[in-house]
Structures are given as structure tokens and as C-alpha cells.
Amino acid sequence: MEQSLLDVRNLHLYYATRKGVVKAVDDISLSLKRGETVAVVGESGCGKTSTARAIIRLLPRNVHLYRGSIILDGKNIMELDDERFRKDVRWKKISMVFQGAMNSLNPILKAGYQVAEPLMIHENMSKVEALKRAGEALRMVGIHESFIDRYPFELSGGMKQRVVIAMALITRPQIIILDEPTSALDVITQANIMNLLKKLKNELELSYIFITHDIALSSELADKVAVMYAGEIVEMADAETFYVKPSHPYAEKLMASVPTLRTDKQLDFIPGAPPSLIYPPPGCRFHPRCPYAFDKCMKERPTAVDLGSGHYVKCWLYA
């Protein structure tokens, strides 16, 4: 079997609020091979973004528990101290495209400078050289080089998104985390950005962790899908398996609730609302909304069941 590039094991990220401890990421494991994309899919508040931030160690101030192991290229990066992590991992190995690219650019710094900055920080490159490289990166994402001198407010939404992607690419990291990279964009612009991401992935052999709430969109990039619910990954499967027939009741229902344009399928929905991450339901966290729930689901937390070829489901139906 091919060696994993990234191996996340038993990752936990809890944070404390006045109302209680939010179990945003609760014992998550996933792995990623070189050139592969894993899509992390789930509804708002299920812990997707926290997962991304836990991997790149951008933790909220009120962290309560941060535990597990993240093995990158055979090295556990959880063990690095903050300064080493900043120097060795951030942007060198893993970069990130943030949700709402509009706001992830500093309003008073020129776009080119912001794209070039990681080179100056991590590779001690001169400003001139770095800006030259930034120009190339911009061209690669489909923006004219002359835009290095523009301020963010002079760019359209789509262009900002491209700048942010160029920024994520500039140090040629092995992994790029894409956190809802197109959620604020129009459908056609979104399609353009997805095209760009696909091209870059193939050309540069990038690995993505693609975080999205949109199952249909996830299929644009995903080689592998991880479905999150209430801080847990409830199903992990190859794209071929997943989009044809998801196994976990939640994934199944979620898929059924996606309206399709080209086919006429019967739409379905999940009654109720996602649970609070402070007091998640006992047993299987999905049981209050699950049509197949039985006694055991209410009492015992299901463990991951291996359905073969990297397909895991956390559900008592398969145990």
C-alpha cells in the first residue's frame, strides 16, 4: 500500500466557552496520499472548519483540549513547538485557503506583496525576487502580473479568490487546505475557480483537504469523502463509492436532500436540527434524527466499521 502523506489520528479539539466545552473536533482520523483530495463534508457547525484549523494549528484562544497525532511525511508535527511549527509546517508543508477570501487579504497591503510574503518569510528571498515569483504565481491562477501592485479593494471577488489561491501555492506546499473556497462566489465564478483548482492539482500534484457543506460541489475535487456530523467523521469512502451510494444514514439522507439539475429524483430531508456540540446526544450522535435508529444507537457510541478498501462507517447498522 502506498505511504500516506498525511495521517491524522485521534485528533481532538475542544474549546471552552461560558456555556460549556464545545467538542468541535472529537476523535477524528483521516489520511491523505500524495496528489489525493479528501473532501470533508458536513453541515454548518459540525466541526469541519475546526478540523482544518486543528491541522494547521490555528487554534481559538479558549482551547480546552488539543490532542491526537498528525503525521506528515512520517513525522508527528503535533510534537513541534509553536515556533518550529510556524517555520517548518505553515505554508512550507501545509497552506490554506480561507473561507471568505474577501477578508483574508490585508486591506492595506498590495496583493503582490501578500502573495510574495511567504517566500520572504520562509525562504529568505529578497523582496524583488519574491515579487517576481508572485507575478508568476498570479499568472498561473489566471491574473495578469501587473495586478501585483493592486490593493485588495481594487479586485473583484473572483480575483481575490485567485490571489488567495496564488498565495497558498507560492511556497509549493504538499497540502493545501481549502476551507469553503467558493462559498461567497457566484456559480459561474465558482465553476471557474473549481476548474483552476483541478488544473493546479493535476499540474502540481497537489493534495487538497477540501472543506465544504455542498455535496454536489465536493464531487468536483474529491477522490475521497469524509462526512462529518457533530464533531465526528461518520463515514469515509472513495468518491466512486460515496456518490453512488453513501452508507451512513446521515450521508444517505444528506445526499437525498441534494436537488439535482439533470436528473429527476425524489427529494428527501432530515427532520430536526444538528445537535449542540456542547451536549451532544448520547450513543450515536445522529440517533435522534435517524430513521433506522434502534435501542443500541441511543446508548452506545458506534465505532468505525471497515467495509473494505478504505471505506469506514460509524453506524450500528453495519456492525
Binding site: V187, Q190, N195, A216, V258, T263, F269
Partner: protein
């Protein structure tokens, strides 16, 4: 579909916003809605689809007279409501209703649900206290927020997004309006409750014979919830028609692009690139001359850059505004 009674006619409606571009420059105008014409039959549900900035929201709010129309006519139930003054406007307000996108912001956080739904009744001086309470309870049970007494005494922050949106729907329907405009009513909800909410809306619309304008950017949902489709781009309607016809056989290059851009969940997606035009919607202060889509159109011709496209009738129903289909 039978020829029903017209409830709403919109003629050449325009809405321009005055805008100061910088602190120091002269005001300029954003032509958010620029000449829109359509009709709506009683009990009919239509979808208005466009990207952000296409003017679809402005159109909806202008029809509801939340914005003063710059030009054009709005005729509702054979009455010209374009410039109604405040007193008769109250009548129009009672007959029409708005459902908004953001369920968290749509309800005043400091009032209990009961009072929130009662507000329109109080304002329109309907019934006494007990009668109003009954109508509030009826409205809550219509949106399936039961037990109604429990929900009535709660505050918005105690409800989930889906529940809040149902409260908003209950409030929108409590005056029994004839025309409801729903502006992206589910786009901020979780995927799992979207369909539930839309289905509820559709059922209420059908049973109560409400005329309904569904404004959305999500083409995929429209076919489940309405009969006719209008595609808007940069302040204008580019194409209209029966939903299935338009989706199956889009005539306007923009509609085509829109359809191509939307993925269905399919593992094959990742292996292909989508054939969509580059670029982004134009700035509406200085919209492109001629056809507004021409800078992005893969089939652009010289005439598209100069002259506004003609309105060409579609085979069955609706029209397309495009030079490609002009009958020469």
C-alpha cells in the same frame, strides 16, 4: 396551465440607486434593475434566478415597494401601485409579503415568537387580543411548529435556523397575503433542512393559492418549487419560460453557462473541466453597451456590442433576449 387571472403585472420597471463612489466625487447611479417586464398569474409560482448583483433582490423589493421605483409600472390586482401614497400602501402591504434570506436577522431578537407573529396583525388592527392569539397559533401550526404554545413563548435565540425560518414564514402568511416574494428563503439553512422548508412553503402556496415569486441563485431547486423561470443578469431578464423547457433547452448563452456551471454529485466531475465563460458579472454603474453579457459571451457578434438584443419568443412560453435567436 390554464389562463388564470393576472395578479401582478410589471412593466419596464427600473430601479437606480444613487451612489457616491468616493468621498469626493459626484454621485453615480447603480442600475440595479433596468427595464424588467413580466406578469404573474393568481396562484402561480415563478422563480427568479440570478447571481449576486443581478438585481433579483432589488427587483423583489421594488415590487413590494420597499424601494421607490425609478421608472416603470407595477400593477397589482388591476391597481397601479407604483406610486401609492402611505395610506393605500397599507392595503398593499397587507396583500403582499416578504420572506427573507437570513432567518437569524429576520426576527427581532428581543420579542417572543408570539409577539413577532402578532406584530403585523397589530399594525393592521386586526381582531382583538384573543382573536389575534388564535391566528398566531394557527399560523404556527400551519408551519408545523408544534406544540404551538411552547413555541409562542420562546425567543428567537432558542430556535434553530430552520425553525426560525418557519417562524418567518408564519409571520409572512399571518395576514393571508395574495402575493409572497421569497428572497433566497433557504440559502442560509443547513442542507438537511432546506428541502423541508421549501416543501412546506410549496404546500402552503398551493393550498392557499398564493402567488409566489421565488428568488434564488440555486437553479437546481427551482424546478421542484415553481412553474416558470426567469433568468436575470445585470439588471435585465435574459430568458424566461417553463422551467423544464429552459433547463432542458436553454437558449441564452448565459443560461447555458449557468446550467453548465452547476454540478450534480457525481464522481466523474473531478475528471473534467466545466465549460464556462471566464469573467465576472459587470459593474452596474457603467454596464456594458449592447447586450450586457457580451463581454463574457462565447458567441459574441459585433451587433451584440452595440445594440440591445431583441426579445424573441420561445416556442411554447417565455422569451429569450439574444441576437443569436433574432429572426432576421
Amino acid at each position: 396551465m390554464s389562463e388564470g387571472e393576472m395578479i401582478l403585472t410589471v412593466e419596464d420597471l427600473r430601479k437606480f440607486f444613487e451612489l457616491r463612489k468616493g468621498l469626493f466625487s459626484k454621485p453615480v447611479y447603480v442600475k440595479a434593475v433596468d427595464g424588467v417586464t413580466f406578469t404573474l398569474k393568481k396562484g402561480e409560482s415563478i422563480s427568479l434566478v440570478g447571481e449576486s448583483g443581478s438585481g433579483k433582490t432589488t427587483l423583489g423589493k421594488t415590487i413590494l415597494r420597499l424601494y421607490e421605483p425609478t421608472k416603470g409600472k407595477i400593477i397589482f390586482k388591476d391597481k397601479d401601485v407604483t406610486h401609492l401614497s402611505s395610506e393605500s400602501l397599507m392595503w398593499y402591504r397587507r396583500e403582499t409579503s416578504l420572506i427573507q434570506q437570513d432567518p437569524y436577522g429576520a426576527l427581532p431578537s428581543f420579542l417572543p415568537i408570539r409577539r413577532i407573529i402578532e406584530e403585523p396583525l397589530i399594525i393592521h388592527k386586526i381582531g382583538d387580543k384573543s382573536e389575534r392569539l388564535k391566528r398566531v397559533y394557527d399560523a404556527l401550526s400551519a408551519v408545523r411548529l408544534t406544540p404551538v404554545e411552547d413555541f409562542a413563548s420562546k425567543y428567537p435565540h432558542m430556535l434553530s435556523g430552520g425553525q426560525l425560518q418557519r417562524v418567518a414564514i408564519a409571520r409572512a402568511l399571518v395576514l393571508e397575503p395574495e402575493l409572497v416574494i421569497a428572497d433566497e428563503p433557504v440559502s442560509m439553512l443547513d442542507a438537511s433542512v432546506r428541502i423541508e422548508t421549501l416543501t412546506l412553503l410549496r404546500n402552503l402556496q398551493e393550498t392557499r393559492k398564493i402567488s409566489f415569486i421565488y428568488i434564488t441563485h440555486d437553479l437546481a431547486t427551482t424546478k421542484y418549487f415553481s412553474e416558470r423561470l426567469f433568468i436575470m443578469y445585470a439588471g435585465k431578464i435574459l430568458e424566461s419560460g417553463n422551467i423544464r423547457d429552459v433547463i432542458m433547452k436553454p437558449l441564452h448563452p448565459y443560461t447555458q453557462a449557468l446550467i453548465k456551471a452547476i454540478p450534480d454529485p457525481d464522481p466523474e466531475n473531478r475528471k473534467v473541466l466545466r465549460d464556462v465563460p471566464p469573467g465576472e458579472p459587470p459593474n452596474l454603474i457603467h454596464p456594458p453597451s449592447g447586450c450586457r453579457f457580451h463581454p463574457r459571451c462565447p458567441y459574441v457578434m459585433d451587433i451584440c456590442r452595440v445594440e440591445e438584443p431583441p426579445i424573441v419568443e420561445r416556442e411554447k412560453e417565455g422569451f429569450v433576449a439574444c441576437w443569436l435567436h433574432a429572426k432576421h
